[in-house]
Amino acid sequence: DAGVIQSPRHEVTEMGQEVTLRCKPISGHDYLFWYRQTMMQGLELLVYFNNKAVMDDSGMPKDRFSAKMPNASFSTLKIQPSEPRDSAVYFCASSLARGGVYFGPGTRLTVT
């Protein structure tokens, strides 16, 4: 199995630009999570989906962040407009029912 796939692995952008992060979960997994990791805050859950439906997005700044899962094998996290404080590593993860949660390699976002 290829594991969770994320793209791009690195993204550098200027403040105010739109950023789109992409994720392909492990085939057959019905839960998908987006986390953000920073030195100051550690790992934070932004949003998670079950069977493509948003279950909880309370951790996501909704004025600038949006998450979608148009099909079972693809999800996006969009930031518009981006700000320097959004600089972080963004992880996508997936799981099956009560099994372990498997993380992708992450996207390192730098907003200048």
């Binding site: 999570f33 279950m55 009560r98 993380f103 992708g104």
Partner: protein, 113 residues
């Protein structure tokens, strides 16, 4: 509500000696517990998980953890540390009523030659 406390922010051991990483949890519902490892500039790798089966859980790379409900603990151990074990380790809890993972602050492990 659920939370995790990792009792040590940093652990330093000599190669070949045992490793103990301590974790206490709180959960309103039957918890699932996990340990993850993160090597520098890498993603998180699942070491092991407890989901209400055997209380002693064996994971990858020689790690194991014991679930003790009376002590609300889920400590991670390895009998003999290897240089490649140097990394950050996260204890994680989720409750049976939702799938949110609550992460501990992490324990950084240093292995001395």
């Amino acid at each position: 509500a659920q939370s995790v406390t990792q009792l040590d922010s940093h652990v330093s051991v000599s190669e070949g000696t045992p490793v103990l990483l301590r974790c206490n949890y709180s959960s309103s519902y039957s918890p699932s517990l996990f340990w993850y490892v993160q090597h520098p500039n890498k993603g998180l790798q699942l070491l092991l998980k407890y989901t209400s089966a055997a209380t002693l859980v064996k994971g990858i790379n020689g790690f194991e953890a014991e679930f003790k409900k009376s002590e609300t603990s889920f400590h991670l151990t390895k009998p003999s540390a290897h240089m490649s074990d140097a990394a950050e380790y996260f204890c994680v809890v989720s409750s049976s009523n939702d799938y949110k993972l609550s992460f501990g602050a992490g324990t950084t492990v240093t292995v001395r030659a």
